[in-house]
Amino acid sequence: MSNVSEAEIRAEVREWLKANWNPERSLVEWRNMLADSGWGMPQWPREWYGRGLPVGVARAVEEEFAAIGAVGVAKSGVRLLAAATLLEHASDDIKKRFLRRILTGEDSWCQLFSEPGSGSDLAGATTRADLKGDFWIVNGQKVWTTSAHHADYGILLARTDWDAPKHEGLSFFVIDIRQPGVDVQPLRQMNGHASFNQVFFTDAKVPKENLVGKVNEGWKVAMTTLAHERRGADGLASPSRRGPRVGRIYAEERAELEIANQPYTWYPQRAGRVDLIIERAKETGANRDPNVRQEIARLMILARSAEWTARRARATQQQGRPQGPEGSLGKLAASHVARGCSRVHTMITGTAAMLTGSDGPRDGIIAEILVSVPAVSIAGGTDEIQRNIIAERVLGLPKEPRFDTGPFRNVRRN
């Protein structure tokens, strides 16, 4: 790793972009150039499509891309979670076969962790993989899989040893989704959308060499994925994309994002749409009701404080000091904000909260908030699990007595 300054890196990337960036290139051609040059993932090691730069400097590179509207590597969906996990744990053979096509966006990925019988208790997975000759044979069911119907590959957590304790009998695989043994079915939520899938495995095949890490050490690998997932969710928006964005490459990127973002159209509503609260109060006249005013104030105090807490965590880290407890609280705070929004939107809307779709206020957006918010305190780790994590890891409270030790075969389960 070099010791060059941020200013030098900025100059270098600017020069490279000047020489190479052209919005009329094809998306895949451009992203292959990013992979070859390392400018697409500057914080990754040089031998794997990166430049080995510290994260802080990598952010500067990102800013230089944003400044001229240059497109980056494919980041939508779980691609980068998969990529980061493979980078850390997979064999060179797997990295060679998959990483480049993740970055170019040619392959789409999904995450196969949760099961109907193991949600919060992810390590209780019962989807099984049995080694038969050169293949692992997979049977079982996964759920809450975003975009599985568009995916080419999945990262899979499956049980490979039933006599080992729960966390020590799991292995981590890369599985080809497009094969006869894999059946992908949409899962419809209470808000009418079907953003997730159920995935059924019936003697699906995984080549032996697609094992990531060692046999029965999959839990550690999955933890890497989850850590990256949590890190990406501090609730702060990414910098906006500037420039006119005209050209072939933008059209191709838009098409890619349209598919990738389709499951997420209701996510802003799930978060409660705090941005609409004051506007709505004014347009409905609810801002004249002293009770509503109190509730709006309560909610806005919560929302602003949550935003400042995330910024405080980030700023402290950027100053080179370790984050305090404020860094672990974002998800729980977001749940509170969303539920508060749901309540206050209802107060503001009154009887019209009974209406949905084109009959509902704001063309159904308000109704969509009300029926989407319940998911926010569950998806990605329930509030209760978040509280356990905060209590044990931040406050250092003793763990609960466990009932799931010993051979997994004997552990009580659904």
Partner: protein, 390 residues
């Protein structure tokens, strides 16, 4: 993007989110001093006295740490720092429940003089306060307990050599021991925000009667003061007094919010420590989810309220246009958080939690008095809505 969101983003660019290393070192120095000088044994000793503070500790915090003048500009004998450093001091005082005439002298009185006084008045009055040589306070609220300056009824009548004050002030912090009083009053025949003025007089002047009130929170002494024709000088001018009073109250609210989050942190720390110690049903009570989740929620609330208190102080320090609204926000947030934290701390301690011997009630009472002092949360929420133009 709405206008208010744009304003948020603009202000966020200017306001700092993290303390500097120097500020963290300053905090550590204040904390060391307090660990040494303000253990709960001292808090308990002082709260039983009428004066409510230890003059030798007050002298040391003035001489060694120069705390009373921390936010007073250097030309008036202060340290030249701002709201952020004042907030740090307040937070640490809140943590340890220091008993000292700091809030009255440094925050309320010095604040009023800085905001309202003429150059000459600032030069003559502030250095003594900054040195801790004199104690002062701001007498604003009256027996009705209303924090809206427009409701002030005490009258200032002009006479040959100044003004004569008539009326009763209440809830005056350290009003029984202050050497210098700053009194908010109005010119006879005016109402609302018209005709308000701030007046200074020595507490031993003729026509003043002071009475220490029996306060539920014995760590913060409050007094009632009657003025019967007491002679006072106008601080600054009548034209600008209403704005100066408002500014002083907003700054005080931010200071108090920082004090409250410090106290809330102590309550959280105490509850966490006890839950790791106390064993029932063969296990530490902190291993029960009922306790864990309560503590996790407390942590979340405390961190959110800290963010609000810190941000408001940072915003005030750079005169961000939104800061007066944020003063209301921080005060409302910190008030509820502190009280919840104290109530939960008692709950987690169980039976011992509501005994006199357990220290929790000292913070609970400070939480309760701080909740209503400068206006209760509902008052500040309404003011926040008005200031945000809702």
């Amino acid at each position: 993007m709405s206008r208010s969101q744009q304003a948020n983003q603009e202000s966020a660019r200017r306001v700092r989110f993290a303390f500097t290393d120097e500020q963290e070192q300053f905090r550590a120095a204040v904390r060391r001093f307090l660990n040494d000088k303000s253990p709960t044994t001292e808090v308990r000793r002082l709260m039983e006295t009428d004066t409510g503070y230890d003059p030798s500790v007050w002298r040391q915090m003035s001489d060694e740490l120069a705390l009373p003048g921390i936010h007073i500009p250097e030309q008036y004998g202060g340290g030249g720092f701002g709201m952020v450093e004042l907030g740090i001091v307040m937070e640490e005082f809140g943590r340890s429940l220091l008993c000292a005439p700091f809030f009255s002298t440094a925050v309320m009185a010095a604040g009023a003089i800085l905001n309202a006084g003429t150059e000459a008045q600032k030069s003559s009055l502030l250095p003594e306060l900054a040195r801790g040589a004199r104690m002062a306070t701001l007498a604003l609220t009256e027996p009705d307990g209303d924090w809206d300056p427009g409701k002030i009824e005490t009258v200032a009548a002009r006479d040959a050599d100044g003004f004569r004050l008539n009326g009763t002030k209440s809830y005056v912090v350290d009003g029984h021991i202050a050497d210098l009083l700053i009194v908010a009053a109005r010119v006879a025949g005016t109402s609302g925000r018209e005709g308000l003025g701030l007046f200074t007089l020595k507490a031993d002047a003729a026509g003043i009667e002071r009475r220490l009130l029996k306060s539920m929170d014995p760590t913060r002494k409050i007094a009632q003061i009657q003025f019967r024709g007491a002679r006072a000088d106008l601080l600054g001018s009548l034209d600008t007094a209403a704005a100066a009073i408002e500014r002083t109250l907003d700054q005080a609210a931010i200071a108090l919010a920082n004090e409250m989050v410090g106290g809330a942190q102590t309550m959280l720390d105490s509850a966490v420590a006890y839950s790791k110690l106390r064993v029932q049903f063969g296990r530490e009570i902190g291993s029960f989810q009922a306790i864990k989740h309560k503590l996790a929620d407390m942590l979340l609330e405390v961190e959110l309220a800290k963010s609000a208190a810190y941000y408001a102080a940072q915003a005030a320090a750079v005169e961000d246009p939104e800061w007066p609204a944020l003063a209301c926000l921080a005060k409302a947030a910190a008030s509820e958080t502190y009280l919840n934290a104290a109530a939960n701390c008692i709950q987690i301690h169980g039976g011992i939690g509501f005994t006199w011997d357990n220290d929790t009630h000292l913070w609970f009472k400070r939480a309760k008095s701080s909740e209503v002092f400068l206006g209760q949360p509902s008052y500040h929420r309404e003011l926040l809505m008005q200031r945000w133009g809702v």
